[in-house]
């Protein structure tokens, strides 16, 4: 009931804004038409590309938007984009769900190169400060044809600031609830051939506690630093060099219980070097070298200061790549590349220090056979020392019916390589006693456990683990249209379907004599996600911008669908009442997926006061976190997390173009769900100061 009321409030609230905006429209109808620069996107094709004619579903979040909503971390801003929601995993990391696909299926890039450190599959987005970001590009749909593994659901690329002519500096500080401080400073220098850009950020918070009755915090206090430096040097008109380095370090309290206390530490560095040379009008080449290391260490001590546990995670990725672009005519361009991924991981509870080596090659054609038609055809081949080689093709077409309407369609293959954990894990829970084994660990660890007398029965024979674990793979289809109703009002719509095969899941492979089970990974499930995304944008007179977005989503496991169809699934009305058979339509779908997600944003600028203000709302409908009625499926008789609305408000005013003050409230309605949602802290008030020089 409360949920319905908040939804109605939400609609009334924004409905009000809409009608208000219509009045404004009537007033400003005769004013001069606002010309907007066409946005460009890099991530979709790895070339600078006009967004409007791109045949792929893509979104750009501008620096302006990031600034006006006073976002500090990447999760703050991605959460508000249509079809995206941040979900927290059990390790506390906050990842992104895109088109209903888990966070491990979206590749996260910074300036075109990937971040690593997914200890439990999720790349924690709060690791990334947005203080130095120029724009965020979101490309939906399988993109392995360009990026290889992980780009199964899509790609999110964070483009950082580039130096502008002269010497510039910026300081910003934001203070907010939970004793949260975000301090950033950036210096940028550019003269003739040399450009340097340095950015330092410190972010700290006391954390918060949603469940007061226990001795633990929901999020423990932490502080982290990010330091990045970017250097551009132009040797000549045709040759330039880009060197960038990034260092991130975080220290956080780690309290597992009232008697177990410790700390967790993260250290990460990235180095990225790129040399570009243009041979002639048609040919250019890039030599790129990228290396990154992600180290996480944590420990827990007993009350008498003896060590209870210690964990480490140390991942390294090194990637050299050469690529070339060829533009035979204005209407067509080719890009091709060849590279090598070298990856190692040293981790607690691993049977080995594994090493992945994977050479790859890719090529793509992007052309306009006719004025109205744009085609992208691309493919990539990834060879690998640990699993089957992958060939990832992609085709996309955009057709401009007229000035107002264009149709877009794409189909692509995406894959995600089994991660180190799924292959090499050898972990036994110290308190409960169950064991999880990586696929490659089974054949050596099970016999060893058997010798120790810990195995009571083997359920899946070891011989089944002789073959390789296959990469999870998908075929993603997107069909959509853009409609420019007027110069100020645009719509786009996109229907999507992702068919995922060989999804890796865990199953019981043996029973232990302590009554617990041994689990391992295997390729089993076929799941699909499908839905519809709609976006509308209205801009008026450069003062008012209103946008709304909606995603309808269905996600199903085909095995579960079959079980329901065959009448194999039962439920009880209360935990102790007799069971009854469930029908096909009682199956709700995958965990943690909402059928409806919507957002609405209103940005308003009062130029004469140098003031900008905005109010944004996001809605997420009910979803199930886990099975609550013991039948192992999410059905309509399970307990669901109720749908909710988050409303954020911000207002900023600048003085002399040098100073800016901001104030805002995130989560105005003070929504929390302490039982189910750990990453929504409640209402946050903040103030902000920016100084430019």
């Amino acid at each position: 009931m409360a949920r319905r009321i908040t939804l109605i409030l939400f609609i009334c609230f924004f409905g009000g804004f809409l009608s208000y905006s219509q009045e404004i429209q009537a007033v400003v109808k005769d004013s001069t038409k606002v010309n907007q620069l066409d946005e460009v996107i890099i991530s979709a094709t790895r070339t600078v590309r006009q967004l409007s004619s791109l045949p792929l579903p893509a979104q750009i979040v501008s620096k302006r938007e990031i600034k006006s909503i006073n976002a500090i971390r990447l999760n703050d801003i991605l959460n508000e984009q249509t079809g995206l929601t941040t979900v927290s995993d059990f390790g506390g990391g906050e990842g992104i769900q895109l088109q209903g696909l888990d966070s491990q299926y979206t590749l996260i890039l910074v300036d075109g190169v990937p971040l690593v450190g997914r200890s439990a599959g999720t790349l924690d987005l709060s690791r990334i400060t947005v203080g130095n970001i120029k724009q965020i590009e979101i490309v939906k749909g399988a993109s392995s044809s360009l990026y290889g593994s992980e780009a199964l659901g899509g790609v999110i690329n964070i483009i950082t600031n580039t130096p502008k002519t002269g010497f510039k500096g910026k300081l910003n500080y934001r203070i907010g609830t939970f004793n949260t401080h975000d301090i950033g400073a950036s210096l940028s220098y550019k003269k003739e051939k040399l450009g340097i850009n340095t950015f330092i950020n410190r972010y700290s918070s006391d954390g918060y506690d949603l469940i007061k009755t226990d001795n633990l915090n929901t999020v423990d206090s932490f502080s982290n630093y990010t330091i990045t430096t970017k250097v551009n040097y132009q040797f000549s008109k045709d040759t330039d060099l880009f060197v960038s380095g990034r260092y991130y370090t975080q220290n956080q309290d780690y309290n597992a219980s009232s008697t177990l206390k410790g700390e967790s530490d993260i250290k990460e560095w990235n180095t990225h070097i790129k040399l570009r040379h243009k041979y002639n009008k048609k040919w250019s080449s890039y030599f790129e070298f990228y290396a990154t290391r992600y180290k996480a260490n944590e420990y827990l001590d007993n009350t008498d200061d003896t060590r209870f546990s210690e964990d480490f995670f140390n991942q390294l990725l090194v990637r050299p790549e050469i690529r070339a672009t060829y533009n035979p005519t204005d209407k067509s361009s080719f890009i091709g590349g060849i590279g090598f991924n070298h990856e190692t991981l040293d981790r607690t509870d691993f049977i080995a220090k594994p090493e992945f080596n994977s050479p790859y090659i890719y090529a793509q054609y992007d052309g306009n056979p006719s004025e109205k038609l744009n085609i992208i055809i691309g493919a990539r081949f990834d060879s690998h020392n640990e699993y089957k080689s992958q060939f990832s093709p992609k085709v996309a077409v955009c057709y401009e019916i007229n000035d107002k309407i264009s149709l877009k369609s794409s189909i692509g293959y995406g894959f995600k390589a089994p991660d180190f954990r799924q292959l090499y894990f050898d972990f036994t829970n110290a308190t409960i006693g169950y064991t999880i084994l990586g696929y490659n660990a089974v054949s050596s660890v099970i016999p060893a456990l058997d010798v120790l007398g810990q195995i009571s029965s083997i359920i899946v024979p070891i011989s089944e683990f002789n073959n390789e674990l296959k990469p999870e793979n998908s075929i993603g289809i997107n069909i959509g249209a853009d409609y420019e109703a007027t110069s100020t009002l645009t719509f786009n719509i996109n229907a999507f379907r992702n068919n995922i095969n060989d999804l890796i899941d865990t199953r019981v492979i043996a029973n232990k004599t302590n009554g617990q089970n041994v689990f391992s990974y295997y390729n089993v499930n076929k799941v699909y996600t499908e839905g519809l995304e709609v976006n509308a944008k209205l801009r008026l007179n450069n003062q008012l911008k209103i946008s709304g977005g909606y995603q309808l989503l269905f996600t199903k496991d085909e095995g579960a669908e079959r079980a329901f169809e065959n009448g194999e699934v039962f439920a009880r009305l209360t935990p102790s009442s007799p069971s009854f058979q469930l029908k096909k339509e009682d199956y709700f779908g995958l965990y943690n997926r909402s059928r409806h997600m919507a957002n609405m944003k209103v940005f308003y600028i009062v130029s004469k006061w140098n003031l900008d203000t905005n109010i944004r709302g996001t809605y997420r409908s009910k979803y199930g976190l886990f099975d609550t009625n013991a039948n192992n499926y999410l059905d309509k008789y399970d307990n669901f997390v109720s749908g909710y609305v988050i409303i954020d408000f911000a207002i900023n005013k600048s003085f002399n173009k040098k100073y800016a003050l901001g104030f805002g409230v995130d989560n105005l309605l003070d929504f929390t769900d302490s039982q189910n949602i750990s990453n929504i802290a409640g209402r946050i008030l903040y103030g902000k100061l920016n100084i430019k020089f």
Partner: protein, 212 residues
Amino acid sequence: MKTIKLLVVAIAFIGFTSCDDDNDMQLVDTTSEKISNLHAPQQGGTDQMGNQSPISGDFSKFDFATGLTTTSATEWDIAFRGTTIIINGGISFGATDEPIRTGESAVYIASGTLASVTGVDVDLLIQDSITGYAILTGSNNGWYTYAGAPTHLIAPTPGKILVIKTRNGRYAKIEILSYYKNAPSNPDAFVDEDNYYTFNYVYQPNEGVTEF
């Protein structure tokens, strides 16, 4: 004298049995009962701190013919201890305090509701053995689902019907409803006492009849 009496009884019994075969004899009706709070405690196991100790303690035995729990060494069909259920048939798995099996009990788990399981598929019946119990232990392997953190609830998996052959060749089907005392409709593993079985069962008292 005693021998003669026994002989008479035996002949009479055989006579009855053959009558049974000829369908001259009226079948006895099945019984449908609900058993509440069958207490099946155990000692040891994994405690709240995660410490493990050997499991021991007597099994709580149940006899379908009387519909009662029993301490008899032989007159029992199934027995409970903690989440473990054993039957009076097969070979000992070797657990501490396990009773000696003297009967021919066997069991399998059918998918369905108590009403929808209308017959016994005798080919599926298995007995306890050295490698494990006929009703597997562990979450989702046998009759229950363990929810894990944070609720730690043990719930009977919906749609699991235990189809049982009794020690002397009768059949019964049972649906376990609760593992907590008084079968609360909203159990709390931290508040409600566990090891209390509540179940519905149907007993077919006619030997060899596989329909309920």
